[in-house]
């Protein structure tokens, strides 16, 4: 039953070869790599040895990559987290070569393609996978609303989480959204309520929940899949209460101050780990997940398996107590003696 599907070939759709997209700060590196590829092709055509030159350039590329990635700014991290070639939830599902049975619909109004979910295998384990899903091209992005869910997306997630609890399946969520959609219909159908109900449900679930921010962790729309026993971020993922753009517009009253806002929000995986808000950072391949999606999927698959295995040994009562305590401990304030 590999990739059983609802209405369309969701899992297959995202496998189309994506177009090229190079960020400003990636440019010198990509140019160098292009040169290496060119040289190798030339060697084949003209039957000459270029090993020495390729070796030299490869070393140079490694050095350059290390240099660029050692001092990434917060804004560059944001750009990486939003990279159009970055793997999305369904890319991981297909790369992991798992069994995946996608389930659709909130049973009330619609099926929101900005959130996908279903039964999934992780090696010898069975889990419920729920994730935000962005589109790879314009057509798919319109269908998936750029990964910005409507209330129906959250209600589908809610339904699937309750299913998982009923059948004692651990839950894996893959978070990647700019935020919940701020639209007219979304308000009419209770966007706030849909998010709030997920937060409450997740806090009390009797099955393990592992959440991984794989790209953008955009505010409440991300958290609505993120009340987990283990909160994990990929190395170049971001997670914050508001986008740098929104923050700049409100606090700086100037939409161009995105770099300042990105810095101030301390939204990188490294920061959040140091705050103790997240539990683990998963390293990405050199240059970021989009440079080697297969390697990234491999690592993520291992991490998920490991985490789910570990949590599966904890009793439901202890799980819930620990989860409540974990979130009650979140906050930073000073207590004056009265």
């Amino acid at each position: 039953m590999r990739h059983a599907r609802g209405k369309e070939g969701d899992a297959k759709m995202v496998q189309r070869a994506p177009k090229r997209h190079v960020l400003d700060f990636e440019q010198p590196l990509v140019e160098l790599e292009d040169k290496i590829t060119e040289l190798k092709q030339l060697a084949v055509v003209q039957n000459v040895s270029v090993d020495e030159e390729v070796g030299r350039l490869s070393e140079k590329a490694d050095r350059l990559r290390n240099e660029i990635f050692a001092k990434l700014t917060a804004w560059q991290q944001v750009q990486l987290a939003r990279h159009p070639l970055r793997p999305y939830a369904l890319d991981y599902v297909s790369a992991l070569n798992t069994e995946f049975v996608e389930l659709h619909g909130d049973r009330t109004f619609a099926d929101d393609a900005a959130i996908v979910g279903g039964f999934m295998t992780l090696n010898d384990r069975r889990v419920m996978m729920i994730g935000h899903q962005k589109g790879r091209d314009t057509r798919e992005n319109i269908r998936r609303n750029f990964g910005m869910p409507q209330p129906e997306g959250y209600r589908k997630a809610n339904r699937l989480m309750r299913l998982a609890e009923k059948f004692h399946l651990p839950i894996v969520t893959l978070i990647d959204t700019p935020g919940a959609y701020p639209g007219l219909g979304a308000e009419e159908r209770g966007q706030a309520l849909a998010i709030a109900e997920n937060l409450k449900l997740m806090a009390g679930l009797r099955v393990p929940v592992v959440s991984v921010v794989i790209g953008e962790g955009g505010s409440g729309g991300a958290l609505a899949l993120g009340v987990a026993d283990r909160i994990i971020m990929l190395q170049h993922a971001i997670y914050s209460v508001i986008s740098p753009e929104g923050c700049a517009a409100i606090l700086w009253k100037d939409q161009t101050k995105v770099k300042e806002a990105a810095d101030a929000l301390k939204l990188t995986a490294k920061h959040l780990l140091s705050f103790g808000v997240i539990d683990r950072v998963v390293p990405e391949p050199p240059g970021g997940a989009h440079r080697d999606p297969a390697a990234m999927a491999d690592t993520l698959g291992q991490v998920l398996y490991e985490e789910v295995n570990y949590l599966s040994h904890v009793s439901p009562t202890v799980l819930r107590e620990r989860r409540l305590k974990k979130f009650l401990n979140m906050g930073y304030f000073e207590q004056e003696s009265p």
Partner: protein
């Protein structure tokens, strides 16, 4: 924290109006000029259009609680500026300024009170403190108030007015949404009532967490209530928003709140609701289980 103990500097918001200060006030919904004495008698609601003016937390306590019954809890919690956040201004300076301006420690006051003799826990937000934004202190106070309600088996009543999560605390403020919701999950299991009152305006992270999770949700008339702010929505969809969009009446029409209750009927309504909702709270939880096993449906 010496900076916090400083005296109020008497900073008052500058009010631009031609009307003599103190005697008259203009309704910002219908434009009617209203006599302040009359407004006070009407609990700060417009006689012409029913607009509910924003009032202080103290005034809400007087409206909701039996006279003299309110005992404030969980004071002395001050935001710690976890990110050392600085935009055009330092967050630390903002905290101090708002404290000086409002005399409040943060945007929520919690406490014990009685309503018609029944003990309740109150959590009241205040928009005048940094737009009623929810950061670590608001989240902690709400969680502790819910904890009080659980330990003493009392109903919890929250009154919200908030621009949402406090940006200056970034991930910490986001996590308060999960924290408050998690405590309410526990309250539900305990069979304890939580009533949420939404007032003008309640948006963002507060609407998307505890404020929407009331067993019963009450809105004051004409309050702006929503997830995204109207300006953000307008910029996103690039079309005019319908008349009355995101107002209490719109929410009632769309099934998002149980009732719209004018301020002068709030207390009576709450008392009536609690009569129905407190039966289980009064009984010990283990008794409950015994009763279930004896139900005719099982035998």
């Amino acid at each position: 924290m010496s900076w916090f103990r400083r005296e109020r500097r008497g900073v008052q918001p500058i009010q631009k109006k031609a009307i003599p200060d103190g005697l008259w006030k203009k309704c910002d919904l219908c434009g009617e000029i209203l006599y302040v004495k009359e407004l006070e008698k009407r609990l700060w609601t417009c006689a012409k259009c029913g607009n509910h003016f924003m009032i202080s937390t103290q005034q809400y306590i007087e409206i909701l609680a039996d006279p003299g019954s309110f005992r404030e809890t969980h004071t002395g919690l001050i935001s710690g500026d976890p990110l050392q956040f600085k935009d055009l201004k330092k967050y630390r300076d903002r905290i101090r300024e708002y404290h000086e301006k409002t005399g409040m420690e943060d945007a929520m006051v919690t406490g014990f009170a009685s309503m018609d003799g029944r003990d309740v826990v109150l959590a009241i937000m205040d928009f005048s403190y940094m737009g009623g934004s929810m950061g670590s202190v608001v989240g902690e106070k709400f969680a502790r108030a819910a904890q009080d309600a659980i330990l003493r088996r009392r109903p919890l009543i929250a009154l919200s007015r908030s621009g949402g999560a406090r940006m200056q605390e970034s991930i910490y403020s986001l996590m308060q949404m999960a924290k408050t919701a998690a405590m309410l999950s526990r309250m539900s299991e305990e069979g304890l009532p939580f009533i949420s009152i939404l007032t003008n305006p309640t948006t963002g992270g507060v609407t998307a967490s505890f404020a929407s999770l009331g067993d019963v949700i009450i809105a004051e008339p004409k309050a702006l209530i929503g997830f995204a702010g109207p300006r953000v929505i307008q910029q996103t969809i690039r079309q005019d928003l319908p008349e009355g969009f995101q107002r209490s009446e719109f929410l009632l029409d769309h099934g998002m709140v149980d009732m719209i209750v004018p301020r002068d009927e709030l207390r009576r309504t709450l008392e009536g609701l609690l009569d129905f909702m407190c039966a289980r709270a009064a009984s010990a939880p283990d008794q409950e289980v015994k009763d279930d096993s004896q139900s005719p449906a099982v035998s």
